[in-house]
């Protein structure tokens, strides 16, 4: 009897724990919707922050997404290819440790070094390029890792077959190994973008903030982005500003959900694709 009571008690606690995990995210979404409700509307997309809209910040966040893709996709995918296809066991584990550690370092350290070195010492000023580079340091490990994992999932029969046909290593990669892995690599890039969209600390001091739409000048121009609005507008005294901060948070989470859905879609495509490759 006591054993069964103990069993019941334990599982009740576990279910409470599950509820505690689910509650916050539901609560976050609800409180953001509540906060943003009075200012929700199309003008968020058509007006800039001086006129209680978010256009400049939304565009800036999109520019950042594009920027980190341009920087991290080639480097990250190439690095992942090396780890999956070329590295020796011991060497690979050292390289892996490098990106795993990079992924774990606090983002403000990246922001600090970016500011001191790029903005100040190199005289870039508030700079889009400095922001993109700082952000890339944060998301690069995710791209490397997802690429590596995607390639390791490709059945080695494909690889062996191609090599047996006398194809060079590079041709094998291009013709046989890479194609089935592409969807998974793309979904890795999606994750990277999702993380990049939500970062603040590496950008605060490297890129500044501007209430104008992005100028796309790499140096000496600050740029607006959504996470800054969430962070700063809440400390402004007017109620509309608080609501605008909530709206920016809501749009960020909306972007995140779209990206996660996209990632799901791509990875579903992956499994179907690789199934057809095998058959």
């Amino acid at each position: 009897m006591i054993r069964h009571l103990r069993d019941l008690g334990f599982w009740t606690l576990c279910l409470i724990a599950l509820a505690l995990v689910i509650f916050p995210s539901v609560s976050i979404v609800i409180s953001l919707v509540q906060q943003a409700w009075p200012v929700l509307g199309w003008h968020l997309f058509t007006a800039g922050t001086p006129d209680d809209g978010l256009q400049n910040a939304i565009l800036g966040t999109l520019v950042l997404c594009g920027g980190i893709l341009v920087v991290t996709a080639p480097v990250g995918i190439a690095g992942g290819i090396y780890l999956a296809e070329f590295s020796h066991l011991r060497q690979g584990s050292w390289i892996r440790l490098g990106y795993e550690t990079l992924a774990g370092i606090p983002s403000i350290v990246v922001g600090f070094v970016g500011y001191v070195v790029l903005d100040i010492e190199l005289h870039w000023g508030f700079s889009l390029l400095a922001g993109i580079l700082a952000l890339s340091a944060i998301v690069l490990p995710y791209v490397v890792k997802t690429t590596e994992v995607a390639l390791l999932q490709v059945p080695s029969t494909l690889r062996d077959g191609a090599i047996a046909l006398g194809l060079s290593r590079l041709t094998t990669l291009r013709r046989a190994v890479l194609p089935p892995a592409i969807p998974a690599i793309i979904s890795g890039l999606v994750v990277a973008v999702a993380i990049g969209v939500g970062e603040t600390a590496p950008l605060l001091y490297t890129i500044g903030f501007s209430d104008q739409n992005p100028s796309l000048q790499p140096f000496q121009h600050s740029m607006g982005y959504l996470t800054y609005v969430v962070f700063y507008w809440i400390s402004l005294p007017s109620k509309t500003d608080h609501e605008l901060g909530g709206a920016a948070g809501l749009i960020l989470i909306g972007m995140l959900l779209v990206l996660i859905a996209l990632g799901r879609l791509v990875s579903r495509w992956t499994s179907r694709y690789s199934a057809s490759m095998l058959s």
Partner: protein, 358 residues
């Protein structure tokens, strides 16, 4: 100090060398669009937001893009050339001026600071001296019913409520002018924390911190017993939020509010002695009507700009901003409770503007 003297005498020499009136450098609508970026003081920010659309309608190719962040950020951004203009309620320190001889502080308006409180049941316009404020911020006076406060406010019964002194956490010109006032009125403060955009605050058990002037209002409104120093440009919002304004004792012993007449009185007392480098404190000036916490609102700028066009745009903005018929209209100034710069200071500002070249 040495730095100030060097800069001051340098300015004087230039004036001597060009004793016949030099031809003014050109100003006007830029031939192609130019954006002047600004970051810094949260006290100055509301004023620049008022000016921004007006300067663009006067000069269609000129855009002013202001951002808040605190005077420390304004000074830092100007030093690092991160923005074209750095907004600050505090002039450059002697060390910063010496380390960055290319920088100038150019005042564009006069501002002041209110001391507000949130004490349930208490009336508006409680009286404070700088000395009492310093003791509150040192943790020597800890309760609203303390005898020192009662002594200044006969006939007012204050509750037995802990005082919660709120201070700025970011680097702030408001902190600079507030601590300058405390330094001028309290020996222990002058020998201890002294003045600065950030200072070593004495430990006080109930203290709270806030980010920016807006944060001061938010925190103070949420905390019964709070006392906070808040720039006049957001004072309307503070009063709307339910905070109450206090009267501060000036050098003549009178208790005054931060309104146009008392701010102007303080400026009148100090304006005659403004040095050529425009680095001047207007804290605790003489005069029966003078409000004790008054300051120049500066935009910090590099003398040498990257291009001629940019330098011209900056000169255009400054010249426009200090004219009472253009930027410094009574409507614009009263919108944020600022006052215009006195006529005796304007020529010195104009001389400074002439130093901005490409």
């Amino acid at each position: 100090m040495a730095g100030l003297l060097i800069l001051g005498s340098f300015g004087g020499n230039v004036a001597l060398a060009k004793s016949k009136k030099p031809k003014a450098l050109p100003t006007g609508n830029p031939s192609s669009p130019i954006t002047l970026t600004e970051a810094g003081s949260t006290l100055l920010y509301p004023y620049l937001e008022v000016l921004a659309p007006q300067v663009t309608s006067a000069y269609p190719h000129l855009t002013l893009s202001p951002a808040a962040g605190g005077s420390g950020l304004g000074i830092a951004d100007a030093i690092g050339s991160l923005t074209t203009l750095g907004g600050s309620d505090a002039y450059l320190s002697a060390a910063d001026a010496l380390a960055n001889p290319g920088l100038m502080n150019v005042p564009i308006a006069i501002s002041a600071q209110a001391v507000d409180y949130n004490v349930p049941g208490a009336p508006s316009y409680l009286k404070f001296t700088g000395n009492v404020l310093a003791e509150i911020y040192q943790g020597k006076i800890t309760n609203w019913d303390a005898s020192q406060i009662a002594h200044l406010n006969p006939g007012v019964t204050l509750p037995n409520l802990a005082i919660v002194p709120v201070r700025r956490v970011d680097s702030s010109g408001d902190t600079f002018i507030f601590t300058s006032f405390l330094t001028a009125t309290n020996k222990a403060w002058a020998n201890g924390p002294s003045e600065g955009t950030t200072v070593t605050w004495p430990a006080v058990s109930n203290e709270l911190t806030a980010e920016g002037n807006p944060g001061m209002i938010t925190v103070c409104t949420a905390t019964p017993g709070c006392i906070a120093y808040i720039g006049v440009s957001v004072e309307n919002q503070a009063i709307e939020a339910g905070l109450k304004e206090s009267l501060l004792q000036n050098k003549s012993g009178k208790f005054v509010r931060p309104i146009e007449s008392t701010i102007t009185a303080a400026v009148a007392a100090g304006a005659g002695s403004t040095p050529a480098n425009l680095t001047q404190s207007l804290i605790y000036e003489k005069g029966a009507k003078a409000y004790p916490i008054v300051n120049f609102e500066y935009l910090i700028v590099q003398k040498k700009q990257k291009t001629k066009a940019l330098a011209e745009a900056i000169r255009t903005f400054f010249s426009w901003a200090i004219k009472t018929s253009a930027g410094a209209t009574p409507d614009n100034l009263t919108a944020v409770d600022f006052v215009a710069m006195p006529a005796v200071v304007i020529p010195k500002v104009e001389a400074a503007i002439q130093k901005i070249t490409g």
